[in-house]
């Protein structure tokens, strides 16, 4: 039985091509590797090599033929011992369709409702509610809460280690890692060179190798150098490996605006990282948030981007004492109960939103303030439940407006609470400019309490 030689696909997109010339004629002996023909695609002329041995029995597509479909039979090869009589009555099998032909892709989540599909959300295991805590409280700064979280988890698990610029001998550029080198030694508290993509990639490799790295960025501004490894290596490997392996690790450091440091050192990355499936993105506000969420992040088997805030490090809060206080990632917290308007915020802006709620109360408007705590996965349930009650939503963030968390919030309300809204969702954002240095301009750039309060009044038509 002769061997069919078919038209090869030479590129991911090729479905047909021109058979330019034949280098062999009928009756010629062909060995594996011989160039038998040339074909032209829109990109190039390529030579076609034989993969089998034999005698070219019949050319079915003559030279010069255009629009030859990929996988159609172009010639027949006679095997050893066969002669031309084998060609008699030979019927070629139908060309098999190429893979790029339209395929029937079933919708992964068929919906019976005639509405626009809700943006697909990866199913996430049900998230436990925040545990009731009734134990002893201590007052400490956010900086101390973060340090305690790291130290406690390092005591529990030998595979947890901290690496980053100035984390060890210098005790942390912002003193978050104060004392850790003394307690854990230089094998587990590691000063890196200033080499973000390098040490981030190294951290991902260490996680692949079974360790649980905490990679500190001196500030998240420098994580842009390392974003390839956060997104391409850490976030996607679980998926790309079919679930075989992932990156149990934390990327942490101060994010967002600092004070008078100019455009390259004042930027919010919450929206950037929240865009990426495979990452969890956490942004604590209070000391308890910082401690409970960082402990959860260190224990979480997924890569967690943990966005701290420089201006919060020195602020003090009441924090649960003891080493067993862990908060669930993916749960928001209602920080202030209200009835007229919902304000969503994360990180430092939660405090600003609470100030705004005070201003509004003086005007007789009752604002509910939700501390998002996690920006991916978002606690949509808590937000929607609040909006069902207040029918209004204002999102406050330091970051830029376009494609920011506020834009996400507006889209989510369209999808999940459209009929509950009595006013459009309003975004209160950082101004759409690189951060200026001058004190007066910088102050104009970041949203303050009165700006949030004004937005709330506008959605209350006041």
């Amino acid at each position: 039985m002769p061997i069919e030689i078919t038209m090869p696909a030479l590129s991911p997109t090729m479905t047909e091509g021109t058979l330019a010339t034949w280098h062999k004629k009928e009756g010629d002996k062909v060995s594996s590797g011989d160039v038998i023909a040339e074909i032209e695609t829109d990109k190039a002329t390529m030579e076609v090599e034989a993969t089998d041995e034999g005698v070219l029995g019949k050319i079915l597509v003559p030279a010069g033929t255009e629009n030859v479909q990929v996988n159609s039979v172009i010639a027949l090869l006679l095997e050893d011992g066969e002669d031309k009589s084998a060609l008699a009555g030979f019927k070629t099998s139908a060309p098999t369709p190429v893979a790029s032909a339209p395929v029937d892709v079933a919708s992964p989540a068929p919906s019976s409702a005639p509405v626009a599909p809700v943006a697909p959300v990866a199913p996430v295991a049900p998230i436990a509610s925040e545990p009731e805590y009734s134990g002893e409280m201590i007052t400490q700064t956010v900086r101390e809460s973060l340090r305690d979280a790291i130290a406690e988890e390092m005591r529990l698990d030998d595979t947890v280690f901290l690496m980053g610029e100035e984390v060890a001998q210098y005790q942390g550029a912002y003193k978050v890692s104060q004392g850790l080198l003394d307690e854990f030694g230089s094998n587990r508290v590691i000063d890196t060179p200033i080499t973000e993509i390098g040490f981030t990639g190294l951290g991902v490799g260490a996680a692949f190798g079974g360790l649980k790295p905490i990679v500190e960025f001196m500030t998240f501004n420098f994580s842009m150098q390392a974003m390839d490894h956060i997104v391409n290596s850490a976030a996607k490997t679980r998926y790309m490996s079919g679930g075989q392996m992932g990156s149990h690790m934390v990327f942490r450091g101060p994010n967002g605006a600092a004070s008078r440091v100019g455009a390259q050192h004042s930027q919010c990355f919450a929206a950037w990282y929240s865009h990426v499936p495979g990452l969890k993105v956490v942004a604590p506000w209070s000391g308890a948030d910082a401690k409970g969420l960082l402990k959860a992040a260190i224990r979480d088997p997924n890569p967690v981007v943990f966005l701290e805030h420089e201006l919060m490090y020195g602020q003090s809060f009441e924090v649960p004492a003891g080493d067993d206080f862990v908060l669930p990632i993916g749960r928001a917290k209602v920080e202030r109960v209200g009835t007229d308007v919902t304000i969503t915020a994360f990180s430092r802006m939660v405090g600003v939103a609470l100030e705004a709620a005070e201003l509004l109360a003086a005007d007789g408007i009752s604002a509910e303030v939700i501390n998002l705590r996690t920006v991916r996965p978002l606690d949509i349930e808590t937000i929607v439940n609040s909006v069902r009650k207040t029918n209004r939503l204002v999102n406050a963030e330091e970051g830029w407006p376009q494609s920011g968390m506020g834009a996400e919030m507006a889209a989510l309300m369209m999808e999940h609470a459209f009929d509950d809204l009595d006013a459009p969702v309003v975004r209160v954002c950082g101004e759409d400019v690189p951060m200026p240095y001058a004190a007066n301009l910088e102050a104009l750039t970041l949203p303050g309490a009165s700006k949030i309060a004004d937005a709330c009044k506008s959605v209350c038509y006041r």
Binding site: V70, A206, R238, S241
Partner: protein, 352 residues
């Protein structure tokens, strides 16, 4: 009816001429007969696998990018022969050969190429993204140079856990100009991490020859400013590769830090399937194939040194042909992944 469809495989047509140094490989007899035959078997397995992959690509059964390793077989076969079970391996997107020498099943690799549920990544990774925790193969990375700091981190983990392992980190001549490679070199030597940096210099980063991309082309010197020793090796000679890698591995295992091996090799096919390879001449390619082919030369060596008979090698050829045919059939028959797989393996549940 036809016995089987044989899609002709494309071959790059080249018009420009480039000069390459080619020389007859030095013959070695240091490896024992059994090892030589095993090298032959592994190299042939890779070559036949890649030829079949090229054929399935031509039939439209493999999509997207597919980077074939044909011509470079001696590098990974020789280098990997020096590894221990606890060692780790990581490479770029030209990765099928590395997976096969790590002991990953040809069926599973081929089924990943065809995007089917029995592939190593359930069809979700493709040619460039396959992993095996069990075989300590850590990918399969699509960003040029991205695997170098990750491999350095795997070495960091070996040292941290003190498990005696080293990481074999492979990358091409195209990636040696990436900044992260030097960031990795610096940390690896600073912390004396047990990592082998194995540069597979096949002379072209996609379509750009090394002398058009690199200010200095002796890549084994690229660790000099970090104090990392390096050696250039005839990467078409599997025994030379094995010997050089064994020395480098001893260095890394002894706690002396990283070692750079520059394997001088050559890929016969284009960068990927759609590359017409006009940047090099047909004569250049055929000269290497005729004079330096790692499999032909080893076969000759085996016969000359009477390490095995012609008949034994023919038996090996036959058994490999059967393995590859099975793998291809398996990869065609395996179903496409269930649509429910779209949303799995993104996050895992936290159990803390």
């Amino acid at each position: 009816m036809a016995k089987k469809a044989s899609t002709a495989k494309p071959k790059a047509k080249a018009k420009t001429k480039a000069k390459v140094k080619t020389k007859k490989p030095v013959k070695h007899l240091e490896a024992d007969a059994e090892e030589l035959v095993e090298f032959y078997r592994e190299m042939l397995l890779i070559r036949r696998f890649e030829e079949k992959a090229g054929q399935l690509y031509g039939m439209g059964l493999i999509g997207g990018f597919c980077h074939l390793y044909i011509g470079q077989e001696a590098v990974v076969v020789g280098a990997h022969s020096t590894s221990n079970p606890q060692d780790s391996v990581i490479t770029s997107y030209r990765d099928h050969g590395h997976m096969l020498v790590c002991g990953m099943e040809p069926k599973g690799v081929m089924a990943e190429l065809t995007g089917r549920e029995d592939g190593y990544s359930k069809g979700k990774g493709g040619s460039m993204h396959m992993f095996s925790r069990e075989k300590n193969f850590y990918g399969g990375h699509g960003i040029v140079g991205g695997q170098v700091p990750i491999g350095t981190g795997l070495a960091f983990a070996h040292k941290y856990k003190n498990d005696g392992g080293i990481c074999y980190t492979y990358f091409g001549d195209g990636s040696v100009n990436q900044g992260q490679v030097y960031e990795s070199f610096n940390m690896a030597q600073l912390w004396l991490l047990p990592v082998l940096y194995i540069i597979e210099n096949n002379k072209y980063g996609m379509g750009t020859s090394i002398d058009r991309a690199s200010s200095t082309t002796d890549l084994y010197h690229r660790g000099r400013s970090h104090g990392i020793p390096g050696e250039q090796v005839d990467g078409m000679d599997v025994v030379a590769v094995r010997e050089a890698t064994a020395r480098a591995a001893e260095h890394a295992r002894a706690g002396k830090g990283p070692f750079i091996l520059e394997m001088m090799t050559y890929r016969y096919r284009g960068h990927s399937m759609s590359d017409p390879a006009k940047y090099r001449s047909k004569e250049e390619v055929s000269k290497v194939r005729q004079e330096q082919d790692p499999i032909d030369n080893l076969r000759e060596l085996i016969i000359e040194s009477k390490a095995a008979s012609e008949d034994t090698l023919k038996e090996i050829d036959k058994s490999i042909k059967a393995i590859i045919t099975d793998a291809a059939e398996f990869a065609k028959e395996s179903p496409e992944p269930n649509v429910a797989e779209l949303y799995t393996d993104i996050l895992v549940e936290a159990n803390g």
